[in-house]
Every structure is written in C-alpha cells, then in structure tokens.
C-alpha cells in the first residue's frame, strides 16, 4: 500500500460519496455542492491517470462553467418566497432494479476480466500531444465541436430569451 494507492482510495471514496450525495440529497442546493466535490474527485483521478491537461480542463469547465450554470438554474427556478425543497421522487423500485443490475453486471465483468498487464509510461505532460492530435488526426471533430458550441450558444440565448408576452 503505497502513497499512490492511498491517494486513489481517498479520492475514489470522495467521488463516490459525493455522487451518492448528489443522487440521494433531498435539497437541490446540497446536491449541487455535492456535485462540486464529485467533479473535484474526478479531476484528482485524472491526475492519478497522468492526464494533467484534462484535470485542469475538468476543473475549469465543470466547476467553473457547468456548475455555475446549474446553480444559476437552481436560483432562477426555485421560488424565493416559498422555498420548496423539491423532494419529488419517481419510480424508485424500477430505478433501483435497473441501476443495481447494471452496476452488478459491470462490476462483476470488470473484476473477473483478466486485463492485459500494462507497461506504464512515466508521467509526462499531455497538453502538447493533445494539441498536436487536435490539429492533425482530430481536426474535423475539432471544427465540428466549434460549430456545435456556436450553435448551442445562439440556440440557448434564443430559447432563454423568448418573451413572456408571446405566450397566448
């Protein structure tokens, strides 16, 4: 049990516990904060997997972007005067069945499979090879992603700004 293992277990447990908090929390604000720690835990797992660029991207985009968007959504859709904690829960039994069956199958398959032993490369920076790949092998998806972001930007603005007066 070396430091790598200990670090892995700490961050894996942090991630899983935070995800449990996201899914089972009654209060939507607590769920959003649990999501913050889940994202941080996943970023730490990226670091352990020698993906430094992705870890930074994860923190910048998920924590700095998506989580702020989610908190804004919570703020704008929860009425301020009657702070109703949306505790609605649908169809627990089929959900437990489906999620449990899938989790059991996945974990069973993953733990019984004999993965080929990997010769681990030493840690090295990944920003340069990722950038090189984006400009060579992945240049078409890269451009498509930029178009998608533009479309999503304009579409989100148009959808969100539709005036109230326009409804019948």
């Amino acid at each position: 049990m070396n430091w790598y293992d200990i670090t892995f277990y700490v961050f894996a447990i942090l991630t899983v516990v935070s995800a449990v908090g996201v899914v089972f929390s009654r209060n939507i604000v607590y769920a959003a904060f649990s999501l913050l720690f889940a994202f941080f835990g996943v970023a730490a797992l990226y670091v352990l997997l020698s993906a430094d660029f992705l870890a930074i991207t994860q923190i910048l985009l998920y924590v700095g972007g998506i989580l702020v968007l989610i908190v804004f959504g919570v703020m704008l859709t929860t009425r301020a005067q009657k702070v109703e904690v949306k505790r609605g829960i649908l169809s627990v039994v089929p959900a437990v069945l489906i999620a449990g069956i899938i989790a059991g199958t996945l974990v069973g398959v993953l733990t019984t499979t004999k993965w080929p032993a990997a010769n681990l490369s030493p840690y090295e920076e990944t920003a340069r090879p990722i950038g090189a790949l984006l400009m060579t092998n992945f240049v078409l998806p890269f451009e498509l992603a930029s178009i998608l972001l533009l479309v999503a930007l304009i579409g989100a603005v148009i959808i969100a700004r539709r005036e109230k007066a326009r409804r019948a």
Binding site: A32, T77, L149
Partner: protein, 104 residues
Amino acid sequence: MAVHIGLTQFLVVSAILFSLGLYGVITRKNAIMVLMGIELILNAANINFVAFTRYGAMNISGQVVAVFVIILAAAEAAVLLAIVLNIFQQLNTVNVDEVDNLKN
C-alpha cells in the same frame, strides 16, 4: 488490501458513478437534478476513456475524445438550462412529470 491499484479499480469507480447517475436520472423529478445525473454519467465515461488511455497500449487519443465529451457536456448543459428556464416561465414548474402538455 494487498491489491495494487490498476485498471480495474478505476473502471469500478467509473461503473459505480455511472449507476448512481442513472439512478438519479430515473428517479429525480426536478429537471436540473436530472441534468446533474447526466453529468455524473458523462464523468464516468470520461474516467473510462482516460483509464484506458493510461493502461491500454495506445497513444493519447482517449484523452482527446474525453476533451470532446467535456465540450459536449458544456453545450448540452447550456441548452438544457435554457429550455428549463423557458419551461419555468411558461408553465411555472420544472418537474419533468408535470410537463405533459403534449399528452392529450
């Protein structure tokens, strides 16, 4: 715990995260909570990509795909929140089971 950390442990964490996200997507009423479940699922997929990049004998392409997944997640979150805001303005609710105008 003499087991050394390898590919399996990362994949198990990812599988647990995926199942939790799936459970959240199915059970939650609030559309924003459903979005949080989707984000958990996408994160689980990303852990798989990065883990196979490290432990599989291949180059760094998996991490590039993970970058694209993050981009898609951001775009999807923006559009979904715009839709949710619009639904909230029109119907005064964000619960996915009460938005059933097309049913009848």
